[in-house]
Amino acid sequence: MDFDLNAIRTVQFGVGRDNGNEHAFHCVMVDAAVQKALGEMATETWATMRQLTNNPVRYEPSEKHSGCEHVYLPLNDDLAVRMKNLHEAVNLDINQNALDNTDAMFCYFTKFTDEQGRQLTALRRSTQFKGVLKSRLIQFSDDSLKILEDKVFKLDNDFDLLIDSQRIYILRPSGFEFVGKLKEAILAAVAGNIETLQADLPFVQFDGIQEYASTRPRAARYLASIRSQQEVARIDRQHLIDTCDATGVAIDRNGDELVISERDIMGFLEVLDRRRYEVKLVADEPEQYRAPSRTRLG
């Protein structure tokens, strides 16, 4: 990671608020003890990530991730735009009122600077942070227990993700998807992804697929995932037809173009995303499978 967690120089804390249509991020001043705790959270996050794996795989929007999984996304990826904006934002406005109306608060974040001037942004969904507010807390005062009237927030043990100058290191993919508004971003990216895929696979008619995916998040996720693969342009037309035939995806032909009916679009996208495959272990009985989660071997 392009940051030294043992040489933190400045710590800025803030919260993200959902103001209807837009997410806003505000800085809130915190004292030295809270800054120390936030630094410890970042260290704990990085340690947990390294415990899971030292070689994280790239985050894929179509993949079914587990609750805690160390994956990464390059900061210049289209899906990282919101997090990149937060990481690169400077002079964030200070607003102590940002802690009012906690229902609108969806995350909290910390921007660290190390001794070499490098930046690290850490972010966490604020479920537990504001959850304590609704609890009835009591404190030992004088010689009896009393209800605590003040607002109390609770920091978590770690963050959902860390962002350095190159990558977003994700510990909880669901947290990243929520704060990064991935669903909306993926749906919005459908047209662009189709344009790229159409250029790479000119023998496939994508018009129907675009219309289908523009309102269906799962199909849109497949498209985003397929687009991020390096080998798309090298897909062979005949091999694609053969794989579709073998896995039960019906393809129509319009001249040289392959046309996919609405019923088979998901199957076709699964083929392109290497999630639909055939296994021949029993003689004359090929078996077809779909993989919600898969890992490339070698």
């Binding site: 400045t10 937060l86 400077v90 964030l92 609108a104």
Partner: protein
């Protein structure tokens, strides 16, 4: 959510009072016939020491609590001329004001109250003779204009010993209020 407020009301008020403390030194030297010497001197001394002590305490607290904010400079303007305006527009007229009658004294204090209120609300609490006396310069830092929708758009005041601040530079300064920052070193 309410819009972001400047916050630290008491600290800002004390900083404004601290900025007018030279006037009380001048009044103390001049004296007054209406009020017994020890009361008048005591009041002037209180108005000089208390706000300046509070300002000093605010700086110490900001450093102790590590209330540092990295500020990226878009454009910087040196505002040493503000101090001259402050000196001529406020200190000298008040010093030369006739305080020999109760009504004159009351009028001067009310006018001073208006100025304090104005300084407080317009965030002019950075205009402090003490900063200048200790060799600090005052810069208005305008934010960097980038395409990032999340970057701050508010300009801030930086009190520093630097003689120049370059565009694009990142400065780490202590927060005295949400719009006034103090860089202790910076030479």
């Amino acid at each position: 959510m309410k819009p972001g407020k400047e916050g630290l009301k008491l600290a800002r008020l004390m900083m404004v009072l601290s900025s007018i403390s030279p006037l009380f030194i001048l009044w103390a030297v001049r004296g007054n016939n209406l009020i017994p010497e020890y009361w008048f001197l005591g009041f002037c001394l209180f108005m000089v020491i208390t706000p300046s002590l509070y300002l000093w305490r605010r700086i110490v607290m900001a450093r102790k609590q590590k209330q540092i904010r990295p500020i990226v400079v878009g454009k910087a303007e040196d505002h040493r001329d503000h101090l001259l305006v402050y000196l001529f527009a406020m200190l000298l007229p008040f010093y030369s004001a006739d305080l020999s009658a109760w009504r004159d004294l009351a009028a001067a204090l009310v006018a001073l109250g208006f100025i304090v209120l104005l300084f407080w609300h317009l965030n002019l609490h950075y205009m402090n003779f003490l900063f200048a006396a200790f060799g600090f310069h005052v810069f208005t830092i305008y934010p960097k204009t980038d395409n990032n929708p999340l970057s701050g758009k508010t300009s801030v005041v930086l009190i520093t010993k630097r003689v120049a601040v370059s565009a694009g530079e990142q400065i780490e300064a202590y927060r005295l209020s949400n719009t006034v920052y103090f860089e202790p070193g910076g030479q």
